[in-house]
Amino acid sequence: MTEAILSIRDLKTHFQTQAAGFLGEKKVIKAVDGVSFDIAPGEVLSLVGESGCGKSTVGRTLTHLEKSTAGQALFDGQDILTLSPAQFRPLRRDIQMIFQDPFASLNPRLTIEQTLGEPLFIHGLAKNWAEARVLIAETLDLVGMAPEVMTRHPHEFSGGQRQRIGIARVMILKPKLVIADEAVSALDVSIQAQVLNLIKKLQRDSGISMLFISHDLGVVRHISDRVAVMYQGEIVEMGTKHEIFENPQHAYTRKLLSAIPRIKTRQVNA
């Protein structure tokens, strides 16, 4: 295996619940409790598991949306967990995140142009709006949208379109690593397929590494190179897609796989 672009060792993220009053007792929730994995350049690793298993927290910790409690996360050889917010900011260009809910992840008060332009200016990829618009138009084209949509607000788009815009916001920075947190879960099946295809295509074309977080085993099988199954804050099984889906070792993985309802039908798309 080639040198990993991201290498996680024994990552722990614990939360303290704030009880009422300053004398209230605090409770610790071990959302992520000792997780290790590597992602190679151009590889898609999926984190799969049921709600509350801590898979989303892993992604949020890696983007500094949550604070890690312990462990190491080497990105390009640098431990990103110990960086201050200011030190981490330039790295955000390389580590981008796609969020689950396309309705909530776009600021309703900003136009598409403003939303997509903001990261360009923050990271100095455009000096003025003329430059920015060229890049925005290119990226919109990449996700299959016309450049005319730039002046519109998010509420004028359907869920699928919004998720495309969300993906555009990520792709416009040409990141090295994308963390996709339930990126297609909120979409209707017919739209989900479009977006999944788009993500897969973009990933292939630009060789981006991806951490794909999902509860949907079908989606995971479709997009991943390797799969890690999480249960109660820990990875219980990790392997290539085929190892996991065709020869699961861990009892929990088997239970998961057997729980999925199947459709007995002719192979319509074969």
């Binding site: 099946v189 479709h222 459709i263 039908t265």
Partner: protein, 324 residues
């Protein structure tokens, strides 16, 4: 005569004083001991249909504009609200999508089951409580005599959905409507709940309508399937027949869109375009803008039912082509 007969049902929602059609004339029947699955994407009108059958549209901006719903031969749409309430929760019961919020958080679950029981049966409090414990046991809640005094927030989502089922079954209904009963649950829990429902059906012979967006859930649990698109049933038949020969381009596209766990697919065959919005007017077959085989005929003419095999009905001008 089937237990439930829905005929030419039209439902519209009032938006700023204007009625926008949501369900555009659907018909189906359900019989004792039978499970009907209604499947479709968001906005297709499947939930409205379930609320209309149950009689829960009162006080909402949604109106039934035409059609008939007959339960055991009785026309429900002509009953007084008092007569309607005598059926609701009694001979006909419903469980909902959100087990987290569908139970009243301030009452113990036992009391909520007892309330349902005593609403329709003259039964002492003590007997009702005993029955509630029995029901909890039936839906496989461990320690039912203790859990009967739990509050909803003290239970997991799966357990709450079981409580909902227990409550729905409390008066031995002949029809159970389950609106997205497992959507909010994890797959492992979903499996248990679905198994529970079919076990209970075997025991009681209740007719069940399951509403879901998940083709897999429907395929695995139902005897009959109706596929809805934009307020119409575009394809209906027994599960066996229907999945044997998918005859509507929409159903076919839907199935192809789903990534499966059992084998690899390089690229998903997605349905292009998007689900039409509420107010959008479309002529002919509503699916034509997204349909790979649409022709001028599809734009011009609304397709009627084409029967493929037995009860397998399809609303597509080219159903025979698609099916073969």
């Amino acid at each position: 005569m089937a237990l439930l007969e829905v005929e030419n049902l039209h439902i519209a929602v009032s938006v700023g004083g204007v009625l926008q059609p949501v369900v555009r004339g659907i018909s189906f029947t359900v019989d004792d001991n039978e499970t009907l699955g209604i499947v479709g994407e968001s906005g297709c009108g499947k939930s409205m249909t379930s609320l209309a059958i149950m009689g829960l549209l009162e006080g909402t901006p949604v109106r039934i504009t035409d059609g008939s719903i007959r339960y055991d031969g009785t026309e429900l749409l002509q009953l007084s609200s008092k007569q309607r309430r005598a059926i609701m929760g009694n001979r006909m019961a419903m469980i909902f999508q959100e087990p987290m919020t569908s139970l009243n958080p301030v009452y113990r679950i036992g009391d909520q089951i007892i309330e349902s029981l005593r609403q329709h049966k003259s039964i002492s409090k003590k007997a009702a409580r005993a029955r509630a414990i029995e029901l909890l046991d039936l839906v496989r809640i461990p320690n039912p005599s203790e859990r009967v005094d739990s509050f909803p927030h003290q239970m997991s989502g799966g357990q709450r959905q079981r409580v909902m089922i227990a409550m729905a079954l409390s008066c031995d209904p002949k029809l159970l409507i389950a609106d997205e009963p497992t959507t909010a649950l994890d797959v492992t829990v979903q499996k248990e709940v679905l198994e529970l429902m079919s076990d209970l059906q075997e025991r009681t012979g209740t007719a069940i309508i399951i509403i879901s967006h998940d083709l897999g859930v429907i395929a695995e649990t139902c005897d009959k399937v109706s596929v809805m698109y934009r307020g119409k049933i575009v394809e209906a038949g027994t599960t066996e027949n229907l999945f044997e020969r998918l005859a509507h381009p929409y159903t076919r596209g839907l199935l192809n869109s789903i990534p499966v766990v059992d084998h690899d697919v390089e690229w998903l065959e997605a349905i292009p375009g998007r689900v039409p919005t509420l107010g959008e007017e479309l002529s002919g077959c509503a699916f034509h803008p997204r349909c790979p085989i649409a022709t001028g005929l599809c734009i011009a003419k609304t397709p009627g039912d084409t029967y493929i095999a037995g009860n397998h009905a399809v609303k597509c001008h080219y159903a025979d082509q698609v099916a073969s």
